[in-house]
């Protein structure tokens, strides 16, 4: 494995993580870091264990071995909502939005972590709670505009075109106020212009200092946006380096030629 090429303060550390599903080893001894403000891509052929890694990091799955730490806090044993409350928020590979709820309300739900409402104040309908609600709505608009789906605010989540549902999934995650964002194949199913728009969104998020861990099969995009790439094959990290290092790594080429590169 190549040396870590980051000089930034590591905030997310995956150490000796292994996941076994019965006899199947989905991940074996995974080690890597993500630095503050860095955009790291986690790539690998289908079934390599990328989504499984996300599930472990965000508390949806208990690792068989190893530990994950985020900003010095061990995430082992934390529930998903507790991981989120530390500012580590994920999106899902399979499109996941609240289908029967409007886009605007989807984002309002996503803003849960930012609400300051007290139960008593809510029941009494106190001015503080009403102001907090108004502020929340402003924030929802900002996020919808940032992601570029504000013109569909009143559509139902499930009635959006596929690409926009992907964006809504990202809007939901952004609403949860992440300092680090895990994106699982965000541009899968998007066409070239949608992908280009998404890349510009990624750049905006980076400009805001967000740390991003990206899982993606779209290689041109990955090569273009990543500071560093971690390559996974059969649950094992086979390379970790800059995009140019990865492109020339014989083991990576071997892994991808063996499986065929899947383009979006």
């Amino acid at each position: 494995m190549n040396a870590e090429t980051t000089s930034r303060q590591p905030i997310l550390a995956i150490e000796h993580v292994a996941v076994h599903f019965g006899g199947l080893i989905a991940i074996s001894d995974m080690n890597f870091h993500v630095g503050e403000g860095e955009l790291v891509s986690l790539i690998g052929p289908n079934g390599a264990g990328k989504t499984t890694a996300f599930n472990v990091i965000t508390g949806f799955l208990k690792p068989t071995k190893g530990r994950v730490t985020f900003r010095g806090t061990s995430l082992n044993g934390l529930k998903p909502h507790e991981v989120t409350s530390l500012g580590l928020v994920r999106t899902f590979q399979r499109t996941s939005v609240f289908d029967k709820i409007t886009v605007f309300e989807n984002v309002l739900i996503g803003l849960h972590r930012r609400t300051a409402a007290s139960l008593f104040g809510t029941l009494m309908s106190l001015p503080k709670e009403r102001n907090a609600e108004a502020a929340l709505r402003e924030q929802a608009w900002e996020i919808l505009k940032l992601v570029g789906i504000d013109h569909q605010a009143d559509e139902l989540g499930g009635s959006l075109p596929y690409g926009d549902q992907r964006l809504l999934g990202v809007a939901l995650a952004l609403a949860a106020d992440p300092s680090a964002l895990l994106l699982d194949e965000p541009v899968s199913g998007m066409n070239a212009s949608e992908t280009a728009r998404f890349v510009s969104l990624l750049n905006k998020l980076r400009a805001k200092g967000k740390t991003i861990l990206l899982v993606e099969h779209d290689m041109p995009m990955v090569m273009g946006v990543s500071d560093r790439i971690v390559v996974l094959n059969y649950g094992r990290i086979i390379a970790n380096g800059t995009p140019s290092e990865i492109q020339n790594d014989p083991e990576v080429i071997q892994a991808y030629l063996g499986q065929g590169v899947k383009h979006a």
Binding site: K79, S96, D99, R113, T122, L156
Partner: protein, 346 residues
């Protein structure tokens, strides 16, 4: 129009005792209203969080017994200690009944929501059965199957104003009406707040809700507390109105009645349990004047099946959709959604 509907409904129902001559019908309205209150509380769980409590009558019965015993007084020995309670005013009983039922909601929620779905259904049914057996067998406290008679009617007033005892049906009618209005406002504020949005998010997609930081147990337990407490209030009002209770209040049919009211009216809507409650609370009385008792229950069942088949979402969402279509108002076509983005346009 839709905005004024609740006020029009309140004005109409407030006028009913002024012109309704039939005292039996008024009595039916009071009892239906009490069950509507219980159905509203069930709707908070079933409609907004999506959790089916098939033991909901437990909270109702607990509220009824706690309220009755508080106002009647009792003397029991527990582990050799004699505990005697002097009668307190019925209003205090209803408040205590509400609190105790809310605490039970908390405990059941904590216990049952570790695992959800079918497990919660089973825990809630078992809980109701346990409470029923306690009411049946702790004869020293509850009189067992012999019932607790002579429960005093509600009194209102203060020391300096003097007390008025609510013997009459019309007086109790207004008490129930006010209780329903208060419950409606509480539920409305709750479900339109971040708290209610969290509950709805859990109902719609639990995994996604967790991923944005919503704690599953916290919000399901919160809903169970409110649902338990409100059902307890309904039970307390019932005890002081009927003035006698026995372990039959815990019968499964009472839970089923609440579930029918919620589902036919429209679960997850504010007005659903009220509309369903009116129909199924009054149906037996209305049918009674036309058909015999056996046929009456068959028709009751048929009415329910018909509504569920024709309007699977319930009556209220169907009406909203219908009005939404005819007026071209897109917002009303979405029964499941709470509100639109209108507020601050920037």
């Amino acid at each position: 129009m839709k905005r004024f509907l609740p006020y029009i409904a309140v004005a109409f129902f407030a006028s009913v005792p002024l012109w309704l001559q039939d005292q039996y019908f008024l009595h039916t309205l009071v009892v239906s209203g009490i069950f509507m209150l219980a159905a509203m509380s069930l709707n908070l769980l079933l409609g907004y969080t999506g959790q089916l409590s098939l033991g909901h009558v437990a909270f109702f019965g607990i509220g009824a017994y706690v309220s009755a015993l508080t106002s009647l007084g009792f003397s029991v020995s527990i582990f050799g200690f004699q505990i005697t309670h002097e009668p307190w005013p019925p209003v205090v009983g209803v408040i205590l009944g509400t609190l105790v039922a809310g605490i039970c909601g908390y405990l059941i929620g904590k216990l049952a929501f570790r695992v959800r779905g079918a497990y919660f259904v089973i825990v809630s049914i078992s809980f109701a059965e346990v409470v029923r057996l306690v009411a049946l067998n702790w004869v020293e406290l509850t009189n067992g199957p012999l019932a607790l008679p002579g429960i005093p009617p509600l009194t209102i007033g203060f020391e300096w104003t003097g007390y008025a005892t609510l013997w009459g049906k019309a007086q109790n009618y207004y008490v129930v009406l006010v209780a329903i209005i208060i419950a409606y406002v509480i539920i409305k504020r709750l479900v339109y707040s971040p708290f209610g949005r969290a509950m709805i998010a859990l109902r719609e997609n639990e995994t996604l809700a967790m991923s944005v930081g919503i704690s599953v147990t916290k919000y399901l337990v919160l809903a169970a507390i409110f649902a338990g407490a409100m059902a307890g209030t309904a039970g307390g009002l019932y005890a002081h109105y009927i003035q006698i209770i026995d372990p039959m209040v815990f019968m499964f049919l009472n839970t089923v009645t609440m579930v029918i009211m919620v589902i036919t009216g429209g679960k997850g809507t504010l007005a659903g349990p009220l509309v369903g409650g009116l129909i199924f609370g009054l149906a037996p009385v209305v049918l009674r004047s036309y058909v015999g008792p056996e046929l009456q229950w068959i028709l009751y069942g048929l009415l329910m099946i018909l509504i569920v088949f024709v309007l699977p979402d319930g009556i209220v969402p169907a009406i909203e959709r219908w009005f939404g279509r005819s007026s071209g108002n897109a917002d009303d076509q979405r029964p499941l959604t709470l509100e639109t983005s209108k507020a601050p346009q920037s």
